[in-house]
Amino acid sequence: MFPFSFEWVWDMGHIVFHGGLWYALSILGMGMTYCIIKAVYDTVKSKDGGHGSGHH
């Protein structure tokens, strides 16, 4: 799973399989991080008297 695992080999199989896995995990992780940070920002902004993200 990681290059520091003892059985890791820098070959096409490992790069494609794990590259795909980490690609998908990165998108999901970054997407959720963005949503959470923006939700915190919007919440603080709306408490400060603003209108949040302006939806609804």
Binding site: M1, G13, F17, L21, A24, Y34
Partner: protein
């Protein structure tokens, strides 16, 4: 008692009736949990699996629910990437059904692994030459996608949505849902395909073995295709069952009609590919390995795997529903539509059944008999367990979450809000 949690503008049964319904399904669920504990504590000797049947009822159930759960990724693809906006009225339910299917598949796999404490090995010590590794990666990642798609629905509960952070979080997640949906479609394409690929690469099993393209046998593409065709049919099927159970119309006809039409085209094109694949396998692939078509469909106990099963899969549960779904006058008749989606769902289940169980039952060597298998009650109970779990989760979600956006409009409440 729980009226504060029920979405605005809809009516639900009393909490007493609901509690009885949940208790009945909870009892079935507990029966499954009892069997699960027996298997965990006593081991796989609680099953009727043998050396001939390393894959059994669980793997069939896994493959079937994953195929039927394909409605979530395909409806998401149509809604968010292709831009079929009408499907926004059914996407919530498709996601919920997908979530139930995939969590059930993971639950069954957790039982089937046999050494659950080592389940993480498949990630940590991955065998990059195995299609099942790809399945494990994509399945767990896609379950993550479905969870991400389900969370905003939970946060839209009347009480949770009052919390500003949850309200903003749900809104932001909806805002970039296309990104998650695209990732889900990418993951689904590969794990649906690899599940088919597992059978297709078994060159020692002529019933399942297929030629293909590069490293992918044709079953790789057929499994993805059939999931995209039958998944939406399962979404329509469960929607209709929910409408019957609640006595309400929950989704407008034009939404169902659009999804049914797309499913019909997918099913029709899948059947063309499936028929060509079957013909090539029967005429070229199997004979090259010393088998005729009828070797796979004769002389088995009770004709359990007679030629009828091929006719049922391809003609009755494939071509027939495709024709019914493609003809507007027929698919707009509610009874015909329900029959068509039921047949399509049965077809997907039957396809997975033969590719998992008949593949192992058919003798390979000339002196071998057909291998027979009948699941133990523990296997049956643990396969029914996810059904009870699914009914409970769908019931809770229907009661407390705004799953069907068109429900208030289709079922106005006099004097209520």
């Amino acid at each position: 008692m729980d009226s504060a949690l029920i979405p605005n503008g809809v009516k639900r049964c009393s909490i007493g009736q609901f509690a009885v319904w949940i208790a009945i399904n909870g009892a079935i669920l507990l029966w499954g949990v009892w069997a699960l504990l027996l298997i965990y504590f006593k081991g796989l000797n609680q099953t009727n699996m043998t050396n001939a049947y390393g894959f059994a009822l669980w793997i069939w159930a896994d493959l079937a629910v994953i195929a039927l759960g394909g409605g979530a990724f395909f409806t998401g693809l149509l809604r968010y990437i292709i831009g079929k906006d009408e499907l926004k009225h059914i996407i919530n339910y498709a996601v919920l059904i997908g979530f139930v299917c995939y969590s059930s598949a993971l639950l069954i796999l957790a039982i089937d692994v046999g050494q659950p404490l080592r389940a993480w090995f498949i990630f940590w010590h991955a065998n990059v030459h195995s299609m099942l590794t790809e399945v494990a990666f994509c399945l767990t990642c896609y379950f993550g996608v479905l969870t991400i798609e389900y969370i905003p629905l939970i946060l839209e509960n009347r009480q949770l949505n009052r919390v500003p952070f949850f309200h903003h979080l749900a809104h932001n997640m909806h805002h970039i849902m296309a990104l998650f949906a695209a990732t889900g479609a990418f993951l689904s394409f590969f794990h649906q395909g690899s599940l088919g690929g597992v059978t297709g690469v078994l060159y020692g099993r002529p019933f399942g073995f297929r030629t293909g393209l590069l490293v992918w046998p044709w079953t790789f593409f057929l499994y993805t295709w059939s999931a995209a065709a039958c998944g939406p049919c399962f979404t329509i099927f469960i929607t209709r069952i929910t409408e019957m159970a609640t006595g309400k119309k929950l989704v407008k006809d034009n939404v169902i009609d659009l999804l049914a039409k797309i499913a019909g085209w997918m099913l029709a094109t899948y059947m063309v590919a499936k028929i060509i694949d079957t013909w090539y396998w029967a005429a070229v692939t199997a004979p090259s390995m010393g088998f005729t078509l009828m070797d796979f469909y004769s002389n088995n106990p009770g004709s359990a795997y007679g030629i009828w099963i091929l006719i049922a899969e391809i003609l009755v549960c494939g071509v027939l529903p495709a024709v019914l779904l493609l003809m507007p006058s027929l698919r707009r008749n509610p009874s015909v539509l329900f029959a068509a989606v039921t047949l399509a769902v049965l077809g997907a289940c039957l396809n997975r059944w033969v590719m998992v169980l008949q593949m192992q039952a058919a003798p390979v060597l000339s002196f071998e008999p057909w291998f027979t298998y009948f699941p133990s009650w523990q296997e049956v109970a643990t396969t029914i367990l996810p059904v009870a779990y699914g009914v409970i989760l769908i019931s809770l979600s229907y009661r407390y979450l705004p799953i069907f956006p068109q429900e208030p409009e289709l079922n106005p409440i006099e004097g209520g809000k």
